[in-house]
Symmetry: D3
Subunit: 245 residues, 6 copies
């Protein structure tokens, strides 16, 4: 099985970290095809970054589909461009945010999310509401760690994240923790040991869910929100993204 993991931001080191997390959990026969968007922001911190990142990511989805893959994982916790990718691809697509929320819902009645910047909280809260899982989430907390600081040793990022986990367990009645950024993938195991609670990391969850869907022969429904785009002209810099029907 081949799973395409696409980083919708353009920072290769984040792709590598996510790919490492993906390969650590992939089944023996699963190859992880990790790609980085070539067009868009270096990190996704808010709605503007997220919106501009989508076309570059869709280019990678289309390319991977053309090469032949069994599923796609979008390696940004905001699930950037998830609906568009599902409409585009004939293969299952999983966002690491939704993956983490669904998996956390299977091991806890009530979880908390610990993300990077407080500006990311509204996007995550909206996604939880759209997916239906808002009532399962006690609170979305920000650790005030910029996304790229997660790539810097000595940034103190882990301590800030741990402090928010402590607060979530002590004051939010959270029973499990969801790490709210692809860049935190390497911290899940040690944080779970430290706090003695389930810590769900989205890259791992998404890769396993993509394997699950592909393994069961399930593909995205093609009526409604995920109906394939109709063939039409796209103008200017977007001409090459025009759907061919």
């Amino acid at each position: 099985m081949r799973i395409h993991l696409v980083n919708p931001n353009t920072t290769v080191s984040m792709t590598e970290k996510a790919a490492f997390a993906a390969r650590a959990v992939a089944a023996p026969g699963t190859a992880i095809l990790a790609r980085t968007s070539a067009n868009g922001p270096a990190s996704i911190e808010g709605a503007y970054d997220g919106a501009v990142a989508v076309p570059g990511m869709l280019v990678e989805i289309a390319a991977a589909d053309a090469e032949g893959v069994d599923g796609h994982v979008i390696a940004c916790f905001d699930d950037t461009g998830l609906d568009a990718a599902r409409a585009l691809s004939a293969r299952p697509v999983i966002g690491i945010g939704e993956a983490a929320f669904h998996v956390a819902s299977l091991v806890a009645e009530r979880f908390a999310v610990v993300t990077t910047l407080s500006r990311s909280i509204p996007v995550i809260e909206r996604n939880l509401a759209v997916y239906g899982l808002a009532a399962r989430c006690a609170r979305v907390r920000a650790s005030d760690v910029p996304v790229l600081a997660l790539e810097e040793p000595g940034s103190g990022a882990r301590d800030l994240i741990a402090a928010e986990i402590r607060a979530a367990l002590d004051t939010d009645r959270a029973e499990a923790i969801v790490l709210g950024c692809a860049g935190m993938a390497d911290l899940a195991h040690s944080l779970s040991l430290e706090f003695g609670v389930p810590v769900v990391e989205g890259v791992a969850a998404a890769v396993k869910l993509a394997e699950l869907l592909a393994g069961l022969g399930l593909v995205t429904a093609k009526t409604g929100l995920y109906a394939p785009p109709l063939p039409k002209l796209y103008a200017g810099t977007m001409a090459s993204l025009a759907p061919r029907g």
Copy 2:
């Protein structure tokens, strides 16, 4: 006052129709600066079209801000790219979908939306849920009229729309109608006369709301979801959209 009306699809005739509707309701001192995206789909019918349309629209938002405008109207009923535009601009931004929903809520306890294709229903339903107004909407109905058919005389589009309005009033207990596409702007008045109920059209509603916000000196909140994008590198074809902080 100068209001920038941006058509996020690339079909100039739709821009012109929307601009006509906008100018018909604009206050005497309001100039409508109508722009068409140069980069993206010819029409927005579903999540893929919508996602690819956003960067091209944001280019127009930034350009209009640089020229100096008092507010922006996004002339697509899906409110394409609304959050990103609000994060980008220092001026108020109104989507014609949200404008129509809010205005309809002020004249009816319960309204119905009549849109073009059934593939647009899920996007509209999601927006209603996100805005909080889902309970005010009796039903979103599709007339099975393609967006571009609205531009063609003799397409029978008006009859199909009228049939859905009749059904909404008779079977959904709708008290008012929202027309769910910018391309229907020219039909609102005659449909309201025909059915004797309020018919809300988004372009007009949005232009007046943009005037309202600008007139009251209200600008978009700049913490939370609409926090300005942080300065960072954008790569490839998106490099020119990088926020400058």
Copy 3:
């Protein structure tokens, strides 16, 4: 255009303050016809005051309609008698509470309300729920300022209100503030400057929305909740309010 602004309490100084706020934002051609209810409580602080205030207010609505106006604004943040007024009048009716909530929703994902007494909180929360906008409101805060104290210089009212705004921004993640009493209309501008966030005041918002609806030729839907009252006998002191059909 003539907009009827009705104060459902019987304190003329509050009507004057609201009328001042209304005229400050009214379009050049808009006349504000400000009226004070002659029958009912001196201020509206809770459900009992509110209920008794309605018939007196409806008398003013009917009188203004008879004189000929283009719309009505109910100048009490509780939107006292809004449904009954909509059923009665052939013209648009806007409550200043709903006006503020809808306008705030167009400039912020998440706002807070700062009102006078804590006994007003449940009414406001219920209105937010009924309108559908409860999820957009981070919290309704009371400043413990009695309504009539807003009319007294030196009452310290502004400081108490400012303290609640500070708390809303710091602890509720509010991005914008709605002032929850008609008597606060004169504070909006200076508080917005002081805190650097949008501060929405209901009288101004409602006047502009009334102009908007009237300008677009939109009237209240006349089926469902706002169906005109059926002609019938009213007894006793209410005989003169009987609908004539």
Copy 4:
């Protein structure tokens, strides 16, 4: 025990029918003090009638409290003026609508309401939402019987009501029926026998709940929404309703 049953409309025959239903279920030691509002509409059919009816009803509440009663029942299915009455009185107050909804919730997972005119549907739906029981109600159906027709033998009212019950059971998956008008109180027993399902009638339910609350020594909470009105001047025709604190 003395229970005050107040009819907020001014039609004495409806008071008598409700009083008959009340006395039929009252405990041996319970006296029903039935009063008719002297000021207001002859029937309550929509928001305008309802709003004008409230002060006249509050006069009766205050008078009964002065005479000494153990609780009040508001004999209009819209629960007209319920919040104001709770704020005013030191005794429990029950609306027949809420009584019926709560009692139906104890015998069925899912009930339907059959009311008189379709214009009453929105008020009932809103009450259900405010009380929290909207999800328990499959549908509110109107039988198109005017309230006063229930008082006329040979009006065919019962057949129209029965037809809606049949539809509710067959197509709405309702398991129990709530009769949505005080004037239907005499039909509950025969309809329950005819259809073989629980049929809940509000007057009976409310009288028993008022006995229940009074018997348990429970009175309305006096902070929050039901805080007693503050002493203040009321002007004009409402002067005599001013709270004395």
Copy 5:
């Protein structure tokens, strides 16, 4: 009238305390038939205890029905086995949790629950959500008193409960208190006096509601969730619980 009060745990002293509370409020002609489950946990503290307690309780329900009773009260605040009991019995069944929530909703807009252990909070919150009354509950608080400690004089249980009531009134804006355990039935009166707010205790509320339903001739709806179990074989230790149709 005969009301069967069943304690789904096997601790006789708790049954006796609940029976005492029940008899203290029962109408003159009402006999309380108090039974203790013979099979199951000594107390119900969480989902596992609750699930294992149900068959033993259903045995008592069936036995009481065979003897002839007019209604059943389940004397555990979790409403253990309520749906199954309703499906089984031809008589009304009331859980003390739901009874308390519905009664509290009739005297307060917003109540808080004070229960025993924090592990009970999620079950109570879920019940509130299922019944529709979650929005009426400000917060479920735990006093960290084990259920059986309520049976021990000198355990300090009352002080811990009082402290949570104080916090609920001061910080949760609760207007009334629901005591969240059958073992607290003897504390309601003194706590209500001490805090000057309504304190609702479930045993009393449930007994009166059972009398109410039986008095009105209302029985549980027998389609949908409470449809009688179909006759079929039950194996092993459960064979004697097989429905006979």
Copy 6:
């Protein structure tokens, strides 16, 4: 890896069918330990059957844990006893209903459930609400096929199910189908081919999710709803189920 699949009803042929479906999708290294409850109903059709089935199932959960397994699957679409099983076991537990809902949510915005008897609809609707996924489900439909008829060739069951799928796609706007009974596991593939939409079957979904959780080292959170039962005495026939702490 060893996954324990427990059939909470006592019909061995249903266990075998579920085990067949489980083994068909299990990973090469996964052994399916299929067990049938020895104590309880022959099928679970409604709340009474479900409640009595739980202790017998918990016996199997405990036994399998003692033997050593990596996770449990509850092979009843009602997710019978799921919370209790999660509280009891140290291993992940997945219900086939929740598994199907979560998986369907990853391939469709909007799915429908087709179950057996209409009496099962309320239980499934409640589960959807509790999990948060009610808004994702267009409708729960019953095919009026008794559970055990699914075991009988020539019962016409498949045709009845197919008719409901057709209706769900045509009138409910469903984009994918969830089969609402473990006994339908063998029909998923052919129905998916026939209708050209994703058809999700719970046994397969649950087995893969159990593998996923176990593979990621995730166990159920042990605070809150799933806190382990406290050691205490259990009386009578339930004595052997007493938690040992």
